[in-house]
Subunit: 222 residues, 2 copies
DNA sequence: AATCTCATTCTTGTATACAAAAAATCATTC
DNA sequence: GAATGATTTTTTGTATACAAGAATGAGATT
């Protein structure tokens, strides 16, 4: 590709972190990574710096880089902001969504809903992501869209913490149905409220789940 | 003594961009900067990369870095998000603020209010920043606080766009008074509403209008 | 006169070499 | 046998050298 080496390495590392191949706390040795990608340390350092800025990697001066290990407190804080930004997206989308975007949103919801009876969490998660992407786009605020997506990426390494309750897919899909309808009919206040409720429900489940956490997850981040 | 050269250079460059010494659109030649700081290009590149991630500079592949020139549309988008995050801060602060934080908030407001009759925009701006910092802190969400501060820094190079209307200081200070009172008395809904009204600069209708415009109508400011 | 092409030059991106700090290892001492 | 201190080793941070793509300018062509 016409892009530079660092630009090729960056998304690969990011993907490995996001998918959990590289787990939080893992040490990122520059020499080893350079060898692995067949480049010198220079583009590796550049990629690590960029990942550090986006929050996926933590760099301690003179002490190397590790995959960012977020404390539970940080996670809760980030969920709080995420909920608010998603609610903002919903409110704006309800006011600004275009006819073609409405059609795409409905189609995406149908695609999600088709799985509502199943327990295929991974596939539902994928289609769910796409539905939310459409909502972000419909806000017609590119900056907001980018912020929300980046925050979501940053949270995704800890996705394994999500609770997988039987029947939750159906409930989630129903909530989405109401939200999509509110956005399509232009009810901004309702769209915002439904989003908050939707995320809050997940948040409460998340909070409940915290009590069952392994203790090593409770250490504070430096 | 700072840990590394790049860590020394970064805040200097950032300050020059934020204060407007380096204006949006200015080219940032690596060799010239290296000479200016008496280092090699390596730490310069590292600093530029970090600034790029925080949004203060824009790096075009193989074409060098410039101080980020934000379009009017981007600016409106960022203000829209800023207003929402500040409102979230206010809501959380109203619920979580501690007694000592209440005292500090009242004192900061008094300090601002003392200038309410004057037209000293710069000094008012400084004290106003501090007041808002206290509000962010009172939200007791460190991640949110960091996000809001970073967004504010990112907007600050374009501060010249702020309208300086005679008598605006007094109006602003009165709005702050009501907001501080709402936070201190724990009225989260009111604090949120007052903040939205306060921060939203030109009204949602105008923002709506701008956001639906094709981007080529609004060129970058430089 | 304007534009297109090609060569030169300048700048960015990468590799390698070197310096300095932190980690690890080993030996000595209590 | 544990702890501490010095030495070795490893790893990060910086400088310099080199390669490749983009900007620039001169000359030719229409």
């Amino acid at each position: 590709m016409a892009t530079s080496r660092a630009n090729e390495i960056l998304p690969v590392l990011e993907q490995e972190i996001v998918t959990g191949t590289l787990k939080p706390g893992t040490r990122l040795d520059e020499t080893i990574l350079a060898e692995k990608f067949g480049v010198s340390r220079t583009p590796i350092r550049e990629a690590l710096n960029r990942l550090s800025a986006s929050g996926l990697v933590e760099i301690r001066p003179r002490r190397g880089a590790i995959v960012a290990a977020i404390s539970v407190q940080d996670l809760m804080n980030m969920f709080e902001v995420m909920a608010d930004l998603e609610a903002l997206c919903a409110r704006l989308a309800a006011r600004r969504i275009t006819p073609p975007e409405k059609a795409a949103l409905r189609a995406a919801h149908e695609s999600c809903h088709a799985l509502s009876g199943s327990e295929d969490f991974d596939e539902y998660y994928e289609r769910n992501l796409y539905l939310h992407d459409l909502l972000y786009k419909a806000s017609h605020n590119a900056f907001l869209e980018k912020q929300v997506c980046e925050l979501r990426r940053r949270l995704s390494p800890h996705r394994r913490l999500q609770v997988r309750i039987p029947g939750r897919i159906l409930a989630s899909s129903n909530e989405h149905g109401a939200l999509v309808e509110a956005v399509v009919t232009g009810d901004a206040a309702l769209a915002e409220k439904l989003t908050r409720d939707h995320v809050t429900i997940q948040g409460e489940r998340f909070t409940d789940f915290l009590s069952t956490l392994p203790s090593h997850y409770l250490q504070a981040s430096a």
